[in-house]
């Protein structure tokens, strides 16, 4: 049997596609906004080392919960807290036993202006700023932690009229980086690389001022048969990912 050239090309293409899906799979991941930079670094290594492709969506944890409950096609969820993955697990929306803590978040008080935030965060008590940016405490765990810090420092009343909220930690960061808010509580991972703050000035908030930001990951119901989902979770537990995660200022 003779095959025409286009036919051969087409057959070849389909064979390639079939092979490709056998060797490598895409994994759809919902990633908490604070983990944007580290997951992008990890994704490169992950793709190189395993051949699987990581497709990430970034947002607030509460928003992802609503989307997952309503059929979003995510297979792995990297949350910014431990309660949301636990809730999904109790509701049967995850693969049992897949939940684990992939990072413990660090909160930072940050200003885009060098020298504006001192190493002890006294700038908060001086209260000479117009706007203090935080992430929405109802939806974003870093926002909740920020309100706990203000409570602990007894500054909730004093700063109440000055607080502006971003819908997630990325927007809280954006308000500060554009100079619209003089300072704000952000995730250390947004301003930190290789062991130091990359720009502006920051106070790394001591962990005892807020509940630990335990960030849990979980394989979702939709990812239960996807080897790439499993591979990603294993990869996140490995030493190579751990090194990247730590370099962005997370604890493990």
């Amino acid at each position: 049997m003779r095959m025409s050239a286009p036919r051969i090309a087409l057959t070849g293409l389909f064979t390639l596609m079939a092979l490709n899906s056998a060797w490598a799979d895409d994994v759809q991941v919902a990633v908490a906004a604070n983990f944007t930079a580290p997951i992008q670094a990890i994704a490169k290594d992950f793709e190189k080392d395993t051949g699987h492709k990581l497709v990430a969506a970034f947002g607030a944890t509460g928003q992802f919960y609503a989307q997952i409950k309503n059929g979003a096609p995510f297979e792995v969820f990297l949350a910014a807290d431990d309660t949301t993955p636990a809730k999904l697990e109790s509701e049967g929306a995850t693969v049992k036993g897949s939940r684990f803590t992939y990072a413990i978040g660090t909160l930072a008080l940050w200003s885009a202006k060098p020298g504006y935030v001192d190493a002890k965060g006294e700038v908060l008590k001086k209260n000479e700023f117009q706007h203090l940016s935080i992430a929405n405490p109802k939806a974003a765990p870093y926002g909740l932690a920020a309100t706990q810090v203000l409570d602990k420092l007894k500054l909730t009343e004093a700063t109440k009229a000055k607080i502006v909220e971003g819908q997630n930690i990325t927007q809280a960061f954006q308000f500060v980086s554009t100079g619209n808010a003089e300072l704000g509580f952000v995730a250390l991972s947004q301003i930190y690389q290789d062991g130091k703050v990359t720009n502006g000035s920051a106070w790394i908030v001591p962990a005892e001022l807020h509940d630990p930001i335990r960030q849990d990951a979980v394989i979702l119901e939709k990812g239960k048969d996807n080897p790439a989902a499993k591979a990603l979770v294993e990869y996140l537990k490995g030493p190579k990912a751990a090194a990247v995660i730590k370099s962005y200022g997370y604890e493990l």
Partner: protein, 228 residues
């Protein structure tokens, strides 16, 4: 009804924002629409296009540029700071400015169509009767363009009520200052407070339907948009 004080605060704020925006747009938009309807200048095309931009631009683009322009490093922000007014991002004033930009075409275009539809003749007649241009505008043009003004007001108001992206980007979600209904609904959904989200979202749906019904139902047989 599970709505609380913050929900009613958001509703009140939204109505205040939409009313003020509509009022400003009628004042600013009328001369612009008049000029666009009458001029033969080559600037007509470019100005018309700028006015229409918010129709096609995503709110994120408008919000992003406003955030930069109104902020302390932006050209408007620098001016307001130099005038001792501070910056207007995260304030009700900032939202009004954003809304005026965002809803501009919804007011200017119906007015422009109404003015164009009047044509030259009534103006010429008025002139031969020695009416001054101002006189002509208030006694001839305004009454004739009345349907256009009604359409413009309703669309400007309704479109501002439905605003979300711009507010999200320059508002900062401050209760009673910048947290409007659309943002409040988004908050409720994110916080998994679906009951409250349902009440507010349902109210918005009914409100929007009634507004459009008033617009389309009142003038049967005519396109609501082209008016006059």
């Amino acid at each position: 009804m599970p709505l609380d004080a913050s929900d009613f605060g958001a509703i009140w704020l939204t109505l205040k924002l939409a009313s003020l925006t509509t009022l400003i747009l009628l004042l600013v938009g009328t001369p612009i629409a008049w000029w666009l309807a009458r001029t033969r200048s080559w600037l007509r095309g470019p100005v018309g296009a700028v006015v229409a931009l918010p129709l096609v631009l995503p709110p994120t683009v408008i919000g992003f540029y406003l955030l930069l322009a109104l902020g302390p490093h932006g050209f408007i922000g620098k001016t307001t700071e130099a005038l001792g007014l501070g910056t207007v991002v995260f304030s009700f004033t900032g939202l009004v400015i954003g809304s005026v930009v965002y809803s501009m075409p919804f007011v200017v275009q119906p007015l422009q169509n109404a003015f164009t539809a009047i044509g030259e003749r009534p103006l010429e007649v008025a002139a031969t009767l020695r009416a001054s241009p101002w006189d002509t505008f208030f006694t001839v043009v305004l009454p004739l363009a009345r349907p256009g003004f009604i359409t413009a007001s309703i669309l400007g108001f309704a479109h501002t009520v439905g605003e979300f992206g711009v507010v999200l980007m320059i508002g900062g979600n401050i209760p009673d200052k910048t947290r409007v209904v659309s943002v409040q609904i988004y908050d409720h959904v994110e916080a998994m407070e679906y009951a409250q989200a349902h009440w507010l979202a349902g109210a918005m749906l009914v409100f929007s339907f009634l507004v459009l019904l008033a617009l389309y139902g009142s003038r049967r047989g005519k396109s609501a948009w082209s008016s006059a």
